[in-house]
């Protein structure tokens, strides 16, 4: 009977988590909503409201226990249950993501990469094998992977997405600058880097 947490709240919770990691490194024991709010330049009552979703009680006139708060964010956001994924497209971005060890800390395990380039197939990146895309449907059936990280060139994105969906993929984390069309029941998260850049620089 969990309340649904909106994307905005979820996003702020991950930012609090980043801050808490720093605080733990610096051996800080308590943090107040006012301090967190100042760092994110938001209202302190919003911080308290966000935290209220975690059922993690704070202490009057002291603040929140840094370690306990970090744990409850992890529990709520589900870092604990590891999710497995394949990277589709072993280009620059796919390779960079394969080498990004920080994923493990957040419960994301990359099992392998897939590509069509015979030159790349068979090589490994960060202990992950680059495989022929033809092998994907079979492997999906045998494993319990249902997340695909899509890092193919823009023109390949839609046909590849269709192929992935047909092969049984349920979640696509899309790094291509294109809006994918997928059937009901398949979820796409668009990681539109250029969109973020434009938002960032709009006021420059």
């Amino acid at each position: 009977m969990e309340k649904k947490i909106s994307d905005k709240i979820l996003n702020r919770l991950t930012l609090y988590h980043c801050i808490l990691m720093d605080y733990i490194e610096r051996n800080v024991v308590y943090v107040s909503s006012k301090q967190l709010a100042a760092l994110l330049k938001i209202d302190d009552s919003q911080v308290r409201k966000d935290i209220s979703f975690l059922n993690n009680p704070g202490k009057s006139s002291v603040g929140y226990d840094v370690i306990a708060l970090k744990s409850s964010i992890e529990k709520t956001l589900g870092f604990s249950k590891t999710k497995k994924a394949f990277i589709i497209g072993a280009g620059n971005l796919g390779m960079a993501l394969a080498k990004y060890d920080n994923f493990q800390n957040y419960g994301l395990s990359i099992l392998a990469l897939f590509d069509i380039d015979k030159e790349k197939i068979g090589k490994t990146v960060n202990n992950k094998l680059i495989m022929d895309i033809d092998k994907l449907p079979n492997l999906l059936r045998k494993s319990d992977v249902d997340i695909a990280i899509l890092t193919v060139p823009r023109k390949m994105a839609q046909p590849m997405a269709t192929f992935l969906v047909d092969s049984g993929v349920k979640y696509i984390w899309n790094f291509s600058p294109t809006v994918l069309s997928v059937p009901e029941g398949v979820q796409v998260w668009n990681e539109n880097i250029m969109s973020n850049f434009l938002q960032f620089t709009y006021n420059i």
Copy 2:
């Protein structure tokens, strides 16, 4: 006397832009708010309201001219005036971004990379030189660059951000999973990849 466009609207405008690029490739001439809304799974009156910010008139019972609409989005979001940036940190992610030619299409020009690793300094990536971080303050003063793309390891992020700010950087596009503390007048955009992943997979 321009109305301020919120981040949410800006984000949708870039998504419309992605769709319009596909439509142009497929030689489609008109698109309706209903079509755009269906692809993004949002309300069609929202699409019309977003587009109303562009002062780009649609045609009754026909829709919007695809090419004209794409141009007005580009004009409004400021693709035209090219922005110059340095990449700070020539690791996997920094290299991947340096190789990402799509930036040019959106008015972002990467001039060079900076690192502390003597092994890397002097090499080039995609025609961009990797330089010694010590050279940065001087170069910033000589050029009109004020955007830094920060792709250093997490522990280096805050000290490096401070160094950048002291050197005159006004905008930091932060790819490290940490919340930077910067003085008034400096803008930070956090590209928190893990945060996005957690939002995406929260309901899995």
